[in-house]
């Protein structure tokens, strides 16, 4: 085990996968000589050369679109969207092409494509850098959507994503790049896609979350433990495929649920979780499920974002509200 931040874990995973499989190629804006604007691809260009680590022209559309051709050629592209909000300019390729390649060719081609992108707020970015699009992405059949909350999972899930024969959107929390730091297994470390993780044990209530909201939920759990409350935190790790069994197990054990996400509330993935809870575990519920989320507005500018992102106080208030139901 080594303690790494999330960025170091991602970088380590990219190095390992490129060394393991020479079909892996990395492409994106500033990923080569500069090592990525956050340094996620640091050292890859020097180690693997310009044929496998490509500084692309500034076009998210062609980065995503080219991955389709690279995959058809038998390569394993790992593309970077510099920020997930910029992927709006690639959505016609991601949703319309990348996600459907296997289906529309009825399995002739393996779209072994990974698209990494930082997302989420808290670092005072300009417009369109922090949007949480996971709900939109999860609504695109054929895509897998992965959102790690720890450095260890970032390493293990990224390796699984790159090895997966299906296209994976790999969403990395901006705030977690340097803000999240934990023990990461050395050498090969694989975390399967579609398996949730219990980030905190507990049986009074479960907070279901993913990405940076897991960190917030854990802080709430730790804080409320001081009041004798036992708050479980379920880290989904992957939204598609979804670990339905783990959700059911947690809800059956706790009976009370809060779902926390950073995205716009309407149409967000939190709604999908609530629906899943109701379908799977309605008779275990002791109180209505409550969502904590962003608001139904575009991701705001810096002076407003602390109000937008669900923080410990909002999550804790939701937890208390659900626990108060007799």
């Amino acid at each position: 085990m080594t303690e790494l931040n999330m960025l170091e874990a991602i970088n380590e995973s990219l190095h390992a996968e490129m060394a393991r499989d020479e079909r892996v190629v990395v492409l994106g804006e500033d990923v080569g000589r500069n090592g990525g604007v956050f340094r996620a691809t640091e050292g890859l260009y020097e180690k693997f050369g310009e044929r496998r680590v490509y500084d692309s022209p500034l076009s998210e559309g062609v980065i995503a679109g080219a991955t389709v051709g690279l995959a058809i050629a038998g390569l394993v592209p790992v593309a970077e969207m510099q920020f997930l909000g910029f992927a709006y300019q690639a959505m016609h390729q991601i949703a319309g092409q990348v996600a459907r390649l296997r289906y529309r060719t009825q399995g002739r081609f393996d779209p072994a494509i990974t698209i990494r992108a930082p997302f989420g707020g808290g670092v005072r970015t300009p417009e369109l850098h922090s949007d949480s699009l996971e709900g939109q992405l999860a609504n695109i059949a054929g895509l897998k959507v992965v959102a790690p909350a720890t450095a260890a999972d970032a390493k293990g899930l990224l390796a699984s994503a790159i090895r997966d024969p299906d296209p994976v959107m790999f969403l990395e929390p901006l705030r977690g790049y340097r803000g999240i730091r934990d023990e990461v297994p050395e050498g090969e470390h694989l975390v399967p896609l579609g398996s949730a993780r219990t980030a905190r044990p507990g049986d009074d209530l479960v907070i279901i979350a993913w990405s940076h909201q897991v960190e917030m939920a854990c802080r709430v759990s730790d804080r409320l433990a001081g009041e004798g409350l036992s708050i479980r935190v379920l880290d989904l790790r992957s939204l598609v495929p979804l670990d339905v069994a783990a959700i059911a197990e947690a809800v059956d054990a706790c009976g009370r649920v809060v779902v926390s996400e950073e995205a716009v509330q309407t149409g967000g993935f939190g709604g999908e979780i609530v629906a899943t809870v109701v379908e799977e575990s309605f008779w275990s519920l002791e109180a209505p499920v409550v969502r904590v989320s962003g608001y139904d507005v575009p991701y705001p500018v810096g002076m407003l974002e602390d109000r937008y992102i669900p923080d410990e106080d909002r999550i804790a208030a939701a937890v208390r509200r659900v626990l108060e139901v007799a």
């Binding site: 080219a66 050629a73 009825q106």
Partner: protein
């Protein structure tokens, strides 16, 4: 100058006549309600066929838009067979079997161009000596993907040929409403690649342009944009009524430049074609398209085919949906 041989020109006419014969049969089948929407090939035959003949099917990929498959006989009979499956809406129609280097039709216009560049780039990374030829239309040239793909191809010196089939119409929109540029070929300047405009009704001109672009690509010099100017002699599709917008006199003039008539009269003058050959080719083409239709019509379809090949392995949720679907199918039997 690289001219096709007599044998190649004769084979091109076979492919052109076959394509039109089959397209007209498909038009009729659509009118009879037997198959889905058809985009007739009439007027596009010389360009597509000559381009295919300038390629090596063992190594070079064809990335179509949607009108080309009937004219890709050079890539094997499977292309026609899968096209009929595709046309009637059978999912297997999208699976053109390996090792045929043809991608399925692309309905989201110009999105195939970044794929073509990625594929060409991937081939160079794997030292595959082939090139990629991507078809697109005058209308598709207005999409961002065209510019983004052209730009990347230029930077990468990717072995790709962009073949703009300028048939003067994007459904009802004429080229002067599509672009203010002097030609579509002129847009190559923005990518730093050569752009050439050729007579798309002349197999020799198209063959030579594609052959040259292929040589250039194979020698590492990169991409070429070719504009093949022709005229759409039929409707956009079976769902379209071009008499609403195509000037009758323009169409009449275009018909005097019918690419099949041009090549046929040349080959007849050279003693390479005659009426008997024409009728044999037409008859064989009809037999082939009817056989492909019959094969498509009788192709089995699994009760849960709807859910196949979306992902490599069913997620627990998709597996549950599959069970529910199968139960529903059982219940309605």
């Amino acid at each position: 100058m690289t001219r096709p041989s007599d044998g190649q020109r004769r084979q091109m006419l076979v492919d052109m006549v076959s394509a039109r014969t089959q397209s007209q049969r498909m038009w009729n089948l659509q009118r009879q309600g037997q198959i889905g929407t058809v985009a007739p090939i009439d007027g596009h035959e010389a360009t597509i066929v000559a381009a295919a003949h300038a390629l090596d099917p063992a190594h070079d990929w064809v990335v179509p838009q949607y009108r080309e498959p009937l004219a890709l006989r050079r890539y094997g009979p499977e292309v026609l067979e899968q096209f009929l499956l595709y046309n009637i809406g059978h999912p297997a129609g999208g699976h053109i079997p390996a090792p045929i280097r043809v991608l399925p039709n692309q309905i989201s216009l110009a999105t195939q161009l970044p794929h073509a560049v990625g594929l060409a780039w991937g081939m160079t990374l794997q030292d595959d000596p082939g090139v990629v030829l991507a078809f697109f239309g005058d209308g598709s040239s207005s999409q961002g993907d065209f510019y983004e793909a052209g730009n990347l191809a230029g930077v990468l010196k990717a072995p790709v040929i962009f073949l703009c089939v300028n048939n003067q119409w994007a459904i009802s929109t004429p080229v002067h409403l599509q672009t203010a540029a002097e030609s579509f070929a002129a847009k190559a300047a923005a990518f730093g690649i050569p752009g050439v405009k050729v007579d798309g009704n002349d197999v020799d001109a198209v063959y030579e342009a594609v052959h040259g672009a292929r040589e250039r690509a194979r020698s590492g010099l990169g991409a070429t944009l070719i504009e093949a100017a022709l005229y759409r002699l039929g409707a956009h599709t079976t769902a379209d009524d071009p008499t609403r917008y195509v000037p009758a006199e323009d169409l009449a003039a275009a018909r005097r430049n019918d690419p099949i008539a041009i090549l046929r009269s040349r080959l007849e003058a050279e003693g390479l074609w005659d009426a008997a050959t024409q009728s044999e080719v037409e008859s064989a083409a009809l037999t082939a398209v009817d056989a492909a239709h019959e094969r498509a019509r009788t192709m089995p379809l699994a009760p849960d085919a709807l859910l196949d090949h979306c992902v490599s392995e069913d997620s627990p949720r998709l597996a549950r949906q599959r069970l529910a679907l199968l139960a529903e199918v059982e219940g309605t039997r």
